[in-house]
């Protein structure tokens, strides 16, 4: 087994509060890792740092052996678009100003425009260089991570309330050709076939989670537990390699919790990796291969569930006296 995620000396503070204070741990590929700890221990902040939603103050996270910051860096295409737009804006403003305000001729104005274009593109390149090299700029572009298979759910469910449950699920899969406007307009047949497949996949997922009876209901109308399930289904529709689940079974009834645990174990056996924050000790102890206990932004201890249960420091900090 190899580590799919390596967290090293991760730190993040908000004002005077140090939320994550040098957390260091690994998550093994193909395992279920539980992340527990008292309120304010930094579990959710750690999740946000790993999934790219927060920029870390310091420390590194490696996913599949690659640095998160490198994974999230803008592609050369994006840089080209920005540089081009900056050049176009400066160039056209310069040209118009030369023609209208300074009263230069057409040729001279075009020349000024060309200089402006160079200036605009240069300014963009310059500020990017300064930002990256001297300012210690950190990227926060979580969508790049989701594309690489690192997906997460939210502690407080974030369903798309105006859209139906099924649409919520159909949104998730990557590289849909219909997300390109040209395909959406001109290659409708191919998009429609793809949509039909997605529709079936979404229906299967809804059936699996036992919320197929509300498939066409607006997600905003669902109950709290149903929203939790929808959130889980959405992230599974991404077909991710590593899934970060933030309290996946809070508010879900016991029978369904049982089913979900079975499902997560099946997926684990298929090669998926899970990292789960959960306060339900029964669930976390039964499900996890490894448990990481966090306290005050640091890793307190890491080990298999039986060991954690016996650990005096964990009992003091979190589990309490039985």
């Amino acid at each position: 087994m190899s580590a799919v995620l390596e967290v090293e000396d991760l730190r993040k503070s908000f004002g005077g509060i140090v939320a994550v204070d040098g957390a260091t741990f690994d998550i093994e590929s193909g395992s279920i890792t539980g992340l527990i700890g008292p309120n304010g221990a930094g579990k959710t902040t750690t999740f946000n740092l790993i999934s790219g939603f927060y920029e870390p103050d310091s420390g590194t996270v490696r996913y599949d052996g690659r640095e998160l910051q490198a994974l999230m860096a803008p592609s050369s295409d994006e840089r080209l678009v920005w540089g081009g737009a900056s050049g176009l804006t400066f160039g056209s403003l310069g040209g118009v100003a030369a023609f209208g305000l300074a009263g230069l001729g057409t040729a001279a104005s075009l020349g000024v425009g060309a200089v402006g274009t160079g200036l605009g593109a240069g300014l963009y390149v310059g500020q990017e260089t300064v930002k990256q090299a001297y300012d210690g700029h950190k990227n926060s572009r979580p969508f790049m991570l989701a594309r690489e298979g690192l997906a997460r759910t939210f502690q407080i469910t974030r369903e798309l309330g105006d859209m139906t449950a099924r649409e919520n699920l159909m949104l998730a899969p990557q590289a849909q050709s219909g997300e390109n406007l040209v395909n959406a307009w001109l290659r409708r047949g191919a998009v429609a076939r793809e949509e039909a497949d997605l529709y079936d996949r979404a229906t299967e997922m809804l059936e699996l989670l036992e919320i197929d009876h509300v498939a066409d209901e607006r997600a905003g109308n669902l109950s709290g537990g149903q929203r939790k399930l929808l959130e889980l289904g959405r992230v599974l529709m991404l077909d991710p390699q590593l899934v970060l689940l933030d309290e996946p079974v809070a508010g879900v009834n016991p029978a369904l919790t049982e089913k979900l645990m079975d499902r997560i174990e099946t997926l684990r056996d298929e090669g998926y990796t899970f990292c789960i924050v959960e306060h339900d000790m029964e669930v976390i102890m039964n499900l996890s291969d490894t448990i990481i206990v966090m306290n005050e932004g640091k890793k307190l201890v890491q080990g298999p569930p039986e060991e954690i249960r016996q650990n005096q420091r964990v009992v003091d900090a979190y589990l309490g006296v039985d």
Binding site: S51, F53, A85, L88, T89, F99, G100, R141, P142, F143, M144, L145, A146, R147, A151, R152, T153, F154, R158, E159, L160, G161, D162, M163, T164, E167, M170, L171, A172, Q174, Q176, S177, G178, N180, L181, A184, W185, R188, V191, A192, E194, E195, I211, H213, V214, D216, E217, R218, N221, L222, S223, G225, Q226, R234, V235, L238, G251, V252, N253, L256
Partner: protein, 587 residues
């Protein structure tokens, strides 16, 4: 001006504003971007298109502008002008979006509002660009020289060269578009009413039904185009413009009746009667304005009657369950009734009061045959039994109507395609929660910029049409107010409802039209105040819509299904019960 002419210019303005508002429907309704600077792209589109049809600037005269490309072959025409205007507005929309779109709602709104004001001030202050604070004129709309349509005039084809007979060609084009639109609407009717006895209606109805079963609107639209071309052929062989006008007009009326009667079937008899009562009540409430002597009585009488009407409506909503359930439909029926009376009956009152029955009949005929313009010196003369002598022609407004309708429907179709595609799904997701979109591997920024580009391009397109319609541009026209009018239009129909935008534009301009007509009954000194007061009324309308109809008149649209699948599951306003009512999953 006959009522038909008023109605036609009304529809043209509605069409242009609907296209303008479609830009905002996409930006705000579908993506959630509050663009308070939408008018800026309207301005860009209008001025850019005009530069392509203006003659080169003459340094000797009093007007000055940066470019006049009318004399340049291939480039110097409206077609190229409109296309370039649309593209440039889209590009500028994208450039404005890149730095601003990361801002949250209100900050974004203020920033783009600033950008639109900069555009307006630029036109005003830089007199070398587009004649500064003075109007920019001196261009004419496309094919304007061929109107009113007369026999024997010839049409020079742009780009290709060569000539064709003007009347049959342009008439055929106009009729084809109008019919295609009318039949497409008919084809969209799932349940065409066949209750109405007249055989023509029955034919129209069954055609609609057949089209509906075959392929919805598309087959019907093709049928309309074919019929239009056939009509042009008939005109080429025989001088029968009156006959052609009658056929086109009556056929469209038949379509309207079929569409309306389908709605009547959905509305119970008592709802329909309540609607007629409401419409009549509204008409009565307005009576003091033309008929009362003093200004005080005009205002007080109308306000009192309107208050009574609203009070009665409110009471009915409170006490009658069926009334409350169908209140919007009842208002719709009432509006329909009111508009019918305004269109057909009110113009007859004047001639009938004077005992001029033939005159009344002529007015009725002119309003029925809306496709032709009656009266005046120029035209083709006919002598019709019972009506006397008629001078008819097809004026430019009718041609413009056909064009604007076509473009509006095109914009609608484009927005439907967009909203129902996976792309539209991402836009809706961005509107709901950007973090979720981010967590699912999609960059919201990319989608927001695309939405801005497309929405701004639609605004620019509308600007070009506006330049065509007004035949003159001043910077005053492009005040921030226009953005808020477009926003109001979007809100009236339902923010993310593509059909609602057309309805919103119609409601807003009906209000403008009505107040303009009513203002003419006041003394000239007061007229300005009455018209200025419209802005206040517009603000109140905004509040009323936001408070009582937060989802708009047509409510939310369900864009979860692709455009080609069955629409029987389309959401009705207010549909849907909370799922957890029977879920049992809670706790």
């Amino acid at each position: 001006m006959a009522v038909a002419d008023v109605a036609i210019s009304f529809v043209v303005v509605v069409g242009i504003y609907a296209i303008l508002s479609y830009g905002l429907t996409l930006k705000y309704g579908h993506t959630g971007l509050l663009d308070f600077g939408h008018v800026g792209f309207f301005l860009v589109g209008a001025y850019i298109s005009v530069f392509f049809v203006l003659p080169p600037d003459d340094p000797g005269d009093f007007t000055a502008y940066v470019a006049g490309l009318a004399d340049v072959p291939v480039v110097g025409n409206w077609l190229v002008g409109i296309i370039i205007a649309t593209v440039v507005a889209g590009i500028i929309g994208g450039l404005v979006a890149l730095p601003t779109i990361r801002l949250r709602e209100d900050y974004l709104a203020i920033t783009v509002l600033g950008v639109s004001v900069i555009f307006q001030r630029f036109v005003q202050a830089e007199s070398w660009f587009a004649n500064g604070p003075d109007a920019l004129r001196g261009y004419s709309p496309p094919l304007k020289g061929n109107f009113p349509l007369l026999l024997n005039s010839e049409l020079t084809l742009p780009v290709v060269g060569g000539t064709v007979p003007a009347t049959p060609t342009l008439f055929a084009v106009t009729a084809a578009v109008v019919w295609a639109v009318a039949l497409a609407v008919l084809g969209g009717e799932r349940d065409p009413a066949t209750r109405l006895p007249a055989s023509s209606l029955y034919l129209a109805g069954s055609f609609g039904a057949a089209a509906g079963n075959l392929g919805r609107g598309r087959v019907a639209a093709v049928g309309g185009i074919v019929a239009g071309i056939l009509l042009g052929g008939v005109l080429l062989l025989a001088d029968a413009i009156l006959l052609a006008g009658v056929v086109v007009s009556l056929f469209v009326w038949a379509v309207v009746l079929v569409v309306v009667s389908a709605r009547v079937d959905r509305l119970g008899r008592r709802e329909w009667l309540a609607g007629i009562g409401l419409g009549t009540g509204f008409l009565v409430a307005l009576l003091p304005i033309p008929y009362a002597g003093s200004v005080a009585v005009k205002i007080a009488g109308t306000l009192a009657l309107l208050t009574a009407l609203v009070g009665g409506f409110y009471r009915a909503v409170r006490t009658r369950e069926w009334f409350a359930a169908g209140k919007l439909r009842i208002i719709g029926a009432g509006s329909l009734w009111f508009v019918s009376v305004w269109y057909f009956v009110l113009p007859l009152v004047g001639p009938l009061a004077g005992g001029d029955f033939a005159g009344a009949l002529r007015t009725l005929f002119a309003n029925l045959v809306w496709a032709l313009s009656f009266g005046g010196d120029v035209g083709v003369d006919y002598l019709v039994t019972g009506l006397g002598s008629l001078t008819v022609r097809v004026d430019y407004q009718r041609f413009l109507l056909a064009g604007v309708l076509l473009f509006m429907l095109g914009a609608y179709y484009l927005l439907e395609l967009t909203a129902r595609s996976p792309f539209g799904r991402v836009l809706r997701a961005v509107r709901n929660d950007e973090d979720v979109v981010r967590s699912l591997g999609k960059d919201p920024f990319v989608y927001k910029v695309q939405s801005m580009v497309l929405g701004s391009a639609l605004g620019g397109f509308a600007g070009a049409l506006w330049a065509m319609y007004t035949q003159g541009l001043t910077f005053v026209t492009f005040a921030p107010r226009v953005t808020f009018i477009a926003l109001l239009i979007v809100f009236i129909g339902g923010a993310s409802n593509n059909k609602g935008t057309i309805l919103g534009a119609a409601v807003f301009w009906a209000f403008q039209q009505a107040t303009t007509q009513l203002a003419s009954f006041f003394p000239p000194a007061l007229r300005v105040n009455v018209l200025a007061f419209r802005l206040v009324a517009m603000g109140v309308l905004f509040l009323v819509v936001l408070y009582y109809l937060p989802d708009g008149v047509l409510g939310r649209a369900d864009y979860g299904t692709p455009i080609d699948t069955d629409e029987t599951t389309a959401a009705e306003p207010g549909k849907g019960t909370p799922a957890y009512a029977d879920g049992g999953d809670e706790e």
